[in-house]
């Protein structure tokens, strides 16, 4: 067997050669003939009525091809941008989705809302001409805080959403939870904000739209995590072109983290503008446009109560959450604070009674949608902050309080939909405790104290639902799409293999990991296998990459297609070698009759399939199979993270002394790539905990619009990570994979804040724990 490239091998990434030599091909690197460039005219106001748009000066500028506005766009039948997941309020009413046109016609609702587009001969000319477009605005009062937007008299973002309320939704049994809390021996209450974040993939969004008049056909190169979903939505809802007349290509994509799931106004507008102008139209976001217009993440305000009996066993958890949705409902926004959030509030604990109420609220800010973890970080932060807080109040060791309440019997049905299939939460906790040398913490704390520093330690035992998702289940919960994945395995006549997958790699290393499972299955050199993705003309269909689904769902589809290929290979070989199919084995580049010297080369089987000179009766020629895989359940990656910090009481500066992770991802294909996913997730989680915060002023003016205002984690801010695995195999997919893409971002923020609050002796600390925030908390605690 091909042990050095198969499952579990640290194979070097096949895709890296092009990246390290500067040969990666990202959307902005695409060069086409006759290229024109787009620049958007954007609202400088958070909320205003558009009274008139005067494009005459811009149109007259040299090099300007056309200036187009929202009335022309809607006049051409381009549809409004939609949210693809219907949530029903607890009173049975549907969610209030306000209209969102790719170019605003009469009203703008956030800073950056586009009202017109300039198409010109160069990007610089387009940008300068955009400044010549005169828009007469009647400025309206705006609101940026979701809590304030619910107040009486607050500015109304959409006429059809009174009180700015999109939905008022609940899950769980309110009465039973209230009763459990009323009888509890101890109740801990906590108010939490989950800070608003900007995803910030290093490659900004970009589009190259090409309209071919002779074929009435469109091609869109774009920065997408799911090009087929983009094509589907552009066709079915935005009426840009029918699917068979639209090709979407997502070439190398420079990170996504959720923000490149959605189909934004700019991509729609570029396609339409390419038809209007007869030119290929290119647009690349600059970083300040990215801060203004990429969907943000998080932005929850919650109040939570957890009750314990006299034996410190949890009896109930009650949560009330307000979620800021921004000015419009983005594609999956409605699912994030509901089915991706409240369904995870049981954490790793056996809790009989849970109730959560969520109000989704419009504000005059950019839309909020999934960002790495999407709802699950918010749930984990709430559960792991409140359990650590409770441990302090109950004066028990926080690890012990977790052990007291861990779920130990599987499958486990929580009161909030999820059915955990498998896990060993103790194994992860104990592994992390050992690796973090918790036993030596007291000694280190004393040493820090001697040096005038405060040392603290915090835990986080996270669980998440990944492998998104069983189509019928999400359909019953309101999803507008199925969340299966597709794959095609093509064995060429010379025996090389192409895997066409609907998953999309934008940093995850699919070209390597996916090839590993094929190399192992057919015992072939990994060089003979290539992975094709990101092009709707090549790959039959796909739902794309998000929700840690490419392993558990995308690779499962490949396995199913390989099953079919293997069956056909065995049939062909049995026929040619005059043996029984059951005796055929595939190994070492050969297809053999077990226990004999009869064999044919793998490539000979491929050739036989295509020459078709000697195939079994009734067998079709060729050797390519496809599969659609629909998962049976979510997967449940889980683990424990331990963060140890040292705080300088003079300045409030926090230094992360050590960060230890023990994860259960199920089967791991390439440990080196998986470690990288964990590292990156933890870095984003530490960024949320210590540094990052999108700030709007009260009226909705964006304050953090550049890297000078929004603190991204840098190499000198972050520690080395101590990453470990204690795994249970997922029973619900053929490879036993749970997924690893989001765990780091989900599990780490509460570990960091629990550590800091432990160090400073004040639990009243919000993210991001900047030196000023920590210093203030220290002053408040009198330290």
């Amino acid at each position: 067997m091909n042990a050095n490239v198969g499952i579990g091998a640290r194979v070097k990434r096949k895709e890296d050669r092009r990246f390290i030599t500067g040969k990666g091909k990202y959307t902005d690197d695409v060069r086409v003939e006759n290229q024109a460039y787009a620049a958007f005219v954007r609202s400088p106001h958070a909320h205003a009525r558009v009274k008139s748009i005067d494009t005459s000066a811009a149109l007259a500028a040299e090099g300007v091809i056309d200036v187009l506005n929202g009335k022309q766009l809607t006049g051409d039948g381009i549809g409004n941008i939609i949210c693809g997941w219907a949530i029903t309020s607890k009173d049975g009413s549907p969610m209030n989705m306000g209209p969102w046109s790719a170019l605003a016609t009469d009203r703008v609702r956030y800073v950056g809302d586009a009202v017109a587009v300039v198409v010109a001969e160069s990007a610089a000319v387009a940008r300068r001409a955009a400044e010549l477009v005169e828009v007469d605005y009647e400025v309206l009062p705006g609101v940026s805080s979701a809590v304030k937007a619910m107040n009486k008299g607050a500015p109304q973002v959409h006429d059809n959403a009174p009180g700015n309320l999109i939905y008022d939704w609940e899950i769980g049994d309110a009465a039973a939870t209230d009763a459990a809390l009323a009888k509890a021996a101890h109740v801990t209450e906590l108010c939490l904000t989950n800070n608003r974040l900007a995803p910030n993939p290093m490659e900004t969004r970009s589009a190259v739209a090409i309209y071919d008049e002779s074929e009435d056909h469109y091609t869109l190169y774009t920065t997408s995590q799911n090009p087929h979903v983009a094509r589907l939505v552009l066709s079915a809802f935005y009426n840009v072109a029918p699917e068979h007349k639209l090709r979407v290509i997502a070439p190398d994509v420079g990170g996504g983290f959720g923000s490149k799931i959605y189909i934004y106004p700019e991509e729609i507008t570029c396609l339409w503008a390419s038809m209007k102008t007869g030119r290929s139209v290119k647009w690349t976001s600059d970083r300040s446009e990215a801060f203004m217009t990429d969907a943000h993440g998080r932005d929850h305000s919650s109040v939570a109560k957890i009750g314990f009996d006299a034996n410190n066993r949890i009896v109930g958890l009650k949560v009330d959450t307000v979620a800021n949705f921004g000015a419009y409902m983005s594609l999956f926004s409605s699912a994030v604070p509901t089915y991706l959030y409240a369904t995870l509030l049981s954490g790793q604990y056996d809790i009989a009674n849970i109730h959560c109420n969520v109000r989704a609220v419009y504000t005059n800010t950019v839309p909020v949608d999934a960002y790495r973890g999407a709802g699950r970080p918010e749930a984990c932060y709430l559960v792991e902050r409140i359990i650590e807080t409770a441990a302090r109040e109950l004066k028990v060791d926080p690890a012990e309080l977790r052990r007291t309440n861990f779920i130990r019997s599987f499958p486990h049905q929580t009161p909030v939909i999820m059915n955990y299939d498998v896990g060993d939460f103790d194994a992860n906790l104990e592994q992390a405790i050992k690796a973090a040398d918790v036993a030596g913490f007291a000694k280190r704390k004393a040493a820090s104290a001697k040096a005038g520093k405060l040392r603290g330690l915090g835990y986080s035992s996270y669980i998440e639902a990944c492998g998104i998702a069983p189509s019928a289940a999400v359909g019953s919960l309101g999803a507008g799409v199925g969340l299966w994945e597709s794959a095609e395995v093509r064995v060429n006549p010379v025996g090389t293999i192409e895997i066409l997958t609907g998953s999309h790699s934008h940093g995850q290393g699919h070209e390597t990991t996916f090839a590993q499972i094929v190399a192992e299955r057919f015992d072939l050199p990994i060089e003979n296998i290539s992975i094709v993705h990101g092009d709707t003309d090549k790959v039959q269909f796909g739902m794309g990459t998000y929700g840690s689904r490419s392993g558990a769902v995308g690779m499962s589809a490949i396995v199913r297609a390989m099953d079919k290929v293997e069956a056909k290979v065995k049939k062909i070989a049995a026929h040619v070698l005059e043996a029984s199919e059951d005796d055929i084995v595939i190994e070492g580049g050969q297809v053999k009759v077990a226990g004999t010297d009869k064999a044919m080369g793998w490539h000979e089987v491929g050739l036989s399939a295509y020459t078709a000179h000697n195939l079994p009766p009734d067998m079709e020629p060729g050797l390519k199979e496809s599969a659609f895989y629909d998962p049976a359940n979510f997967t449940f990656p889980a683990g424990t993270y331990i963060c140890e910090v040292e705080v300088d009481p003079e300045t409030g500066a926090v230094r992360i002394d050590r960060f230890t992770a023990s994860d259960d991802f199920g089967t791991i294909i390439n440990p080196m790539i998986v470690e990288g996913q964990v590292h990156g997730g933890i870095a984003q989680g530490i960024g949320q905990a210590l540094l990052e915060q999108v700030i709007y002023d009260e009226n909705g003016q964006l304050i953090t619009g550049s890297y000078m205002d929004y603190a991204m984690p840098r190499a000198d801010d972050l520690p080395s990570y101590s990453v470990h695995h204690a795994s249970t195999v997922c029973p619900n997919n053929p490879l036993g994979i749970k997924g690893c893409g989001e765990a780091g971002a989900i599990g780490s923020p509460p570990a960091v804040i629990n550590a800091i609050t432990d160090a400073i002796g004040n639990n009243n600390l919000s993210m991001p724990a900047t030196p000023l925030a920590v210093w203030k908390a220290l002053q408040a605690a009198g330290k």
């Binding site: 390290i20 290093m202 990288g676 984690p713 190499a715 000198d716 801010d717 990570y721």
Partner: protein, 157 residues
Amino acid sequence: MSKIHVTTTVNGDTVEFLADPRETLLDCLRDKLGLTGSKEGCGTGDCGACSVTVDGVLVSSCLVLGVEAQGKSVTTIEGMDKDGELHPLQRHFVEKAALQCGFCTPGFLVAAKALLDKNPDPTETEVRYWLAGNLCRCTGYDKIVRAVMDAAAEMRG
């Protein structure tokens, strides 16, 4: 606005282009010379994705005008391997999987090479501070730091 004729050396080759005096060196490299390995991550000198060296000095090419390259020697990521033979930094980035989406990677490699040219034996802290001018959203930096340390050790022999 009339364009200015620029003659400069890029990765050892003499090249010429016509630049609008307002155009950045980054745009000239990408759009006029087809060297798209240098990336724009912010356009304000905060992320380092456009890092190149000009006469041996590490710069953000988004903050340098194309016309400033006149008579200078510019090196970019495309000049890092020698006839297909990878620089030790490039090899160790692959060894350690010190990249994911790859977008920031050219800038990190150029910046790391500038560090090792100056300081062949940096401490981890020195590596972290030097590379603090480069943003990576994927890796959390640890594998990048290890790769640079390993490359430095190999290059010292």
